[in-house]
Symmetry: C2
Subunit: 385 residues, 2 copies
């Protein structure tokens, strides 16, 4: 027998009570019973998003709602700034191009976060830009962009700020309304502790105004249609009923802890993970690391493709390797969602043992000490409250 | 306590073993473990679709794959014939229009099936038509279009035949390759016995050729990208992992019975349901009824909106009312998917009792006798095999 752990930056572990809720006998989506659940999760999502705007739900992965965040708001030939510092930042550029939107790219070296003044400059040089597309937590590099700073800049212009918060919503502090973010997109399989298959998006009035002139074609991911349906407590097309039932349970778990407490727990676990990795003798990849996941350089001499596979197959722990240009060069461990303190020393131990097997002399005990230093202080503080 | 039954034409009942499979701890989608499942379900779907072409899987409802069946194959200004005989036939027209495709509409009165010669004529009058969009089983009316006849006509032209088989795939005989259907789209929550959230599509070589010239914008529902990913045994974007695990189990159940036997069971149940409804004193709505669902006129003097609600809330049975222009005028009962012989007399009895309460003198015993006549003959034949 091999006990299984999943600490990849999506999908993440789903709490047993959520899994069981998704397995309840299916109910019809055009019934008052389902409408009640939809109304309840829509309210719960607003609290997680920290927005007073409605949060739309789509049956798709996060990329689907990203497509709608372009096609429902812009027209072919419109200009958009795309901040590209990883696979998911690049995705904004790809979607814009697919819909004929002119991309003004701000390319950030992978692993670094965008300099907000570069966005300010680009907006000044292109006052006709309709939207700025950014990533919050760039999952491919484990890097957090400073969305609060971007919000302060973009909100002063006619452009809207659209943020891919797929791996940050519910793991990193994100004050949608206060920071002036117009559209925030996320997915179910990260900090929201669900299986993949749902995407969510909140939209500001400033963004809704753009839909009046938007000419890109769209049907399934029409935000306008989704909004009209939600006003009647329903969805435009058949919703992923079982996942929405699971969401209801997941949001109850989040509400019980409190979203601010969830952010703090994730932050402390990220801190502990980074401290452990460094003390183990490894180097962090990201220059501005997220709490949601930790990205680490594969040490010299170690086969970077072999590590995640060994860890998964022989130790039962799913982590992720690098994607695209980072394939074989980094590995990524998540601390978001249904992850608790003891997952950090477990993951550090597994990775340390696997690295030993692959020829790297990992300092496991020292790594655990470093992580425990952070976790112990956090635990004691929490108990004292 | 109130025992629950779901016989709406989607979502349909999900077998307990499928529900449990969807509730298993989540696994990562970029692993050999998941790749094996994806390869297996893709093969299983080919058997259900009766095609040798690959069957693509999307995380979305059926409408999403319908969008891709337009946007991945056509260009703005292209001409398409849309057969519109209900809410879902109309949807093809709406999607085409959203993407700037010129719609040549063949409007069929709701409840009737298309006259194939009208399609032949339209194709001859418009030899530059790129695609013919049809519904197989029109779920809003319970009517089956003669796709075999359409295939024989369209396959002789340069146009492709695209079929919405959302409620017919796995319930009605559909010989994709033999009948010359180029694209067949279906969803998970009907005869495939799954929760909603997955869409599937098979594509012929004739249809793939169109992707080379297609200029409609699309990202998430790009069939080309989905195909390239499937060739590497993966998906372009995060798949709905838990639903795909459930699909693996559902396909095993279908395989064990044999898809031809599933069609026969559905056919006999539909026949029994129709015989029962008529003998109860009701009128069928559809002129060419499907087996997947039975649509029935609400008898005069009965409140058509009250019936499905009463049946669900007081008897525990979910059926569907009419949609759009048929709201309050018909009710619909499904016999597809995880539905077995005894569901027919149960549904007839519930509906008969509820109709009595609503002022219609339903002949319940006679209805059951009529249904049993069909079911008994089928049962005896099956046992004799």
């Amino acid at each position: 027998m091999l006990k299984k752990y999943i600490m990849s930056p999506g999908p993440t572990e789903v709490p047993p009570s959520v899994l069981l809720r998704t397995a309840e006998p299916i109910i019809h989506h055009r019934t008052s019973e389902f409408e009640k659940v939809l109304a309840s999760v829509s309210e719960g999502l607003k609290e997680v998003f920290k927005t007073s705007n409605s949060v739309l739900t789509f049956a798709s992965s996060g990329t689907g709602a990203m497509q709608g965040a372009v096609s429902s708001f812009l027209s072919p030939g419109d200009k958009a700034i795309c901040i590209r510092g990883g696979k998911f930042g690049e995705r904004w550029g790809e979607i814009c191009k697919a819909f004929g939107v002119e991309v003004i790219a701000i390319d950030v070296p992978w692993g670094e976060s965008v300099d907000p003044t570069s966005v300010d400059k680009a907006l000044k040089a292109n006052p006709d830009v309709k939207a700025v597309y950014s990533t919050h937590c760039e999952t491919s590099t484990g890097t957090l962009h400073d969305i609060q700073a971007l919000g302060a800049i973009v909100s002063k212009t006619p452009a809207i700020l659209v943020v891919d918060a797929v791996s940050s919503m519910g793991s990193e502090k994100c004050l949608t309304d206060e920071w002036g973010i117009d559209i925030v997109v996320t997915g179910s399989q990260k900090a929201l502790m669900l299986p993949p298959g749902l995407a969510f998006a909140s939209v500001s009035e400033k963004a809704w105004a753009l839909t009046k002139t938007a000419k890109c074609p769209e049907y399934y991911f029409s935000y306008t249609k989704a909004r009209k349906s939600l006003e009647k407590n329903t969805t435009a097309y058949t919703p992923a009923v079982s996942l929405i039932m699971g969401l209801d349970e997941a949001l109850k778990i989040i509400k019980q802890e409190g979203i601010e407490a969830v952010w703090t727990r994730t932050e402390e676990m990220g801190k502990a993970m980074r401290a452990g990795m460094i003390r183990m003798g490894l180097e962090l990849y990201s220059k501005r690391p997220a709490s949601a996941l930790t990205s680490v350089n594969v040490p010299q001499g170690v086969n970077g493709d072999a590590l995640p596979k060994k860890v998964r197959v022989e130790y039962g722990l799913t982590i992720a390797g690098g994607q695209d240009e980072l394939k074989g060069k980094i590995f990524r461990v998540s601390t978001m969602g249904y992850a608790d303190l003891m997952d950090v020393p477990m993951a550090l131990t597994v990775i340390g043992m696997a690295l030993k097997e692959l020829g790297f002399d990992a300092e496991i005990g020292r790594a655990i000490d470093a992580a425990v230093e952070v976790l112990y202080a956090y635990k004691v503080r929490k108990t004292a409250k």
